[in-house]
Symmetry: C2
Subunit: 537 residues, 2 copies
């Protein structure tokens, strides 16, 4: 064991988040600390010969007084075998390695998990059936964007993308773990030919039994940059975009499974990971639903942290009801052209709904990439009013953000930021209110309401609310929101609610007032309960 | 065996559709014929003592050169054990009974299955993933109605309901196999107390181990009347409407399973049966999804004919993706307020979509029973334009059709009949055309289109169609349909299609024409390809 030596070397070349651990023989010679939910990486030296990716089984048990967790390691080239671990609880953890190779077996050590770094909240999980949160209880409201190929760009371009993301509303990025076939990736100066996920230089000589660690080190960097900036990495494991060239979409199932296992060993310890089994999975004609089941179950088995798992469709939609799917990741453009569809999706699958492709703001020839900023903003609103979430994309001819990243030039991100602020400021989650009868109303009966009028251009609105949660005498303030111009105008007065005569299901303003609206599209109403008046005796 | 004697008796009192069979000892002494898909009933005499519903296992194998089928029998009181069989193939069939009771075991015989009676087409099955057909290839387009309690009314009332159905557009009726708790059913003169599914007179003394054959004979009659008139019986096995009184919604799972088995033995041989596992199943709080799975699987196992199977929801929606669910039977009112939802449901579950409760035309206090005829017709159109189907209901204070049947007084049935005629006349099934992008268009690209404008009031329509299936030069006739006033007005001229410049996804009329529309709601356009002109040399 020469981990002490390795340590220095790795420290210079790697981006490992946590300190490494020193071992002499099989015993501890030093101690390290790792902030909660950060990445701890153990490096072991092992055999370089043969094929280290096949037949070498190794991993470690990490345990404390309450918990124990098994995680597999991965080979990272140059005789380095790595085991990554994300401590979810503060305090002392002990680990012990196991392997069928003596040099990787029986190493033991300890680490201290310290307080989380400011801004770090741990992996996002499902909350209240339809929403998300961090393990420390902080809600997470996804506002995603799409930059499929940013890991395969130059570092300069990657850093520019990162800067754009940091000043955007987007807190989740969908991107590919395996590059799509594009002419530019085989030209000199863009992506070097050796930097593919597998050893080899072309379809003729891929060695699917050997991963290319240099490729994955770059991908690691992208995940880590997002982590450091509090952005979720919605990492897409498989994709069909091969144009008959590289064959990454037609690997046999054994290779697919080995790839999944490697990805789990390598990335599951990043707290900001979401797994997307595939983009447009049904375009990968060679894989059956049963094979997708198998890959999903493998992710479930190998990811010791239970990160979120979904799959993104084209044509045939994978069954979101299956137990290993944590949330819906839907591509169905018409589903966000009215707010009423997301509630149905929630009720059908009892899981959070993320509309992960809803057409892109842009002007390219393909119709999925040429909707207006108004239309994309409208679709976002429909998703959130329906109790779901949505993901942005931009595809201007001169600025293919969804492919390569870089900068954003569209007009929707600003409006999405405005929507995000409304969601974050809201005293309640946005859940449909009376979802079988109301098409455009979210909030919580009796407390908070958001009506969205979409493309209608109402010039007035009679103050009437569904009765659920209301009591006679409840009083509300109303604000008129222009979702496109991003203005919030309070309506004068307080509205006191009484039952609507002869209806049985609604309450109306006691004075029957009607609110004047500016008669244009994309209006919303925010209605908040007024706190009880203080009692002056 | 005294079947010869039994025959005469039964012939007078029973409504059995097929001739009975004579047996002496265990051998055939006569021969009978049964039209294809009709009901053949074999009556065996067996023990009357003890509890014939428990522990008596019996059934028969029916076989011909190609096929064999096992069906269980049921006890029908008075020492009569019956086995019902629907022959699906013409020619000679042989049967042999098996039982753990010697008197019911080893009876053999033959029957000749003759040509189907005029108007009889066999059991409805799924066709082309999203539609239905009879086994002889005749399409079946469901236009259902709801008369939950008609089997529990007086025969006079039942016959009136039947007459109404015969002159209505409705070819499927949803109704309950077990009565809901209503005060009127325990008053003298309405439903006699002894005519409950189980022996006993009240919750205090039901004997759930003994069925009441007299109750089921009346239910048989209702199913048969529908059969004779070509109407599907969408028979609802379980329902929650007990108001804490009878406890039929809280039977233990063993009783539920015995009930299902009895229903299968008794009704599966009726060719017009559809199984609805429940109405508003999630209101039966005592049953878990796993128990529903078990009941579904029991239906699948015991119904040798594979009749259609679904379940109708309230709140929590059962997973339609499960393999034993043949079609969606959804209660989600907002899902038919736009046409775009049915395509999504089709794509999510890859099964036919039947919107089996979409609110009722009427004027009762409850909001689910007070929509206008215009609104119900609008919702029907949305369902069919989306490639789904819908079910009607009427609930006027003075005419509770959905409960007791009788006559129809609403204005929607006539419009539903009009829609039905359009569906039946159509040269293609109504499937969404370009369902990710078009919200209100059904038909088949290049052949037939139906646009539906719902509550919009367009005063013109530019002749533009999605390109799928179109070739330059294809020519179309257009008709303007007023779906409320039931008029069809041809538009003058023939429209020849050319690609829409700069779009890539649409074709337009060569001359850029715009069709004038009457600027009112509920309009549709029917667009049919004009046959190629004959070639005159």
């Amino acid at each position: 064991m020469r981990l002490a030596i390795k340590f220095n070397k790795i420290f210079l070349t790697s981006f490992c988040l946590a300190q490494l651990y020193f071992l002499t023989g099989n015993s501890v010679v030093g101690q390290t600390s790792v902030p909660q939910w950060d990445l701890f990486e153990l490096i072991l030296e092992g055999p370089e010969g043969g094929n280290p990716f096949i037949g070498t089984e190794f991993g470690a048990v990490f345990y404390n007084d309450n918990d124990s967790l098994w995680t597999e390691g991965f080979y990272d080239g140059n005789g380095e075998y790595k085991i990554r671990f994300m401590p979810e609880e503060q305090g002392e953890w002990t680990y012990k390695t196991f392997s069928n190779k003596p040099s990787l077996d029986g190493k033991e050590g300890k680490l201290i998990c310290t307080e989380a770094k400011r801004g770090t909240h741990g992996p996002v999980m499902v909350r209240d059936q339809y929403h998300f949160q961090y393990p420390d209880g902080t809600p997470f409201y996804p506002f995603g964007t799409t930059v499929y190929e940013w890991p395969f760009q130059s570092m300069e371009s990657q850093l520019k993308t990162l800067e754009t993301l940091k000043s955007s509303p987007f807190n989740k990025v969908r991107f590919l773990a395996v590059p799509p076939y594009k002419e530019r990736y085989i030209e000199e100066g863009k992506l070097k030919i050796e930097e593919f996920p597998f050893e080899g230089t072309s379809r003729e000589n891929w060695d699917f039994s050997r991963f290319n660690p240099e490729y994955f080190k770059k991908l690691d960097q992208c995940v880590k940059w997002l982590y450091e900036n509090g952005i979720q990495a919605d990492l897409i494991l498989f994709r069909p975009y091969d144009d008959g060239r590289w064959g990454f979409d037609e690997m046999d199932q054994e290779t697919n499974k080995r790839f999944v296992s490697y990805m789990m060993a390598r990335y599951a310890a990043f707290s900001n990971i979401w797994w997307s089994l595939a983009n447009e999975n049904s375009f990968m004609k060679s894989l059956t639903d049963e094979e997708w089941d198998e890959l999903f179950q493998l992710v479930e088995e190998k990811d010791s942290y239970g990160h979120l798992r979904s799959i993104h469709n084209a044509g045939n939609i994978y069954d979101y009801g299956k137990p290993w799917v944590s949330h819906i990741s839907l591509q169905y453009y018409n589903a966000v052209r009215v707010p009423g569809v997301s509630p149905l999706l929630r009720d059908l699958f009892r899981k959070p709904v993320v509309h992960d492709e809803i057409n892109y703001e842009g002007n390219i020839t393909r119709r999925w990439g040429r909707i207006s900023a108004e239309e994309l903003t409208f679709r976002f609103w429909n998703a959130y009013i329906g109790g779901g979430y949505a993901t942005h994309g931009e595809s201007y001819k001169k600025n293919p953000w969804i492919s390569t990243g870089g900068k954003l030039i569209g007009e929707s991100p600003e409006r999405i930021a405005f929507l995000k602020s409304l969601v974050q400021e809201s005293p309640v989650d946005w859940n449909p209110v009376d979802q079988y009868y109301e098409l455009n109303l979210t909030g919580k009966g009796g407390e908070f309401y958001m009506f969205y009028f979409g493309k209608e251009s109402p010039s007035s609105w009679k103050v009437i609310l569904p009765k659920r949660g209301l009591e006679e005498g409840d009083r509300f303030k109303v604000e008129i929101i222009d979702t496109w111009n991003m203005t919030i105008d309070p309506v004068e007065g307080i509205f006191e609610m009484v039952p609507l005569e002869g209806d049985g299901y609604k309450f109306r303003d006691k004075d029957g007032r009607e609110i004047q609206l500016p008669g244009k599209p994309y209006l919303a109403l925010r209605i908040k309960k007024v706190a009880e008046k203080p009692f002056y005796p």
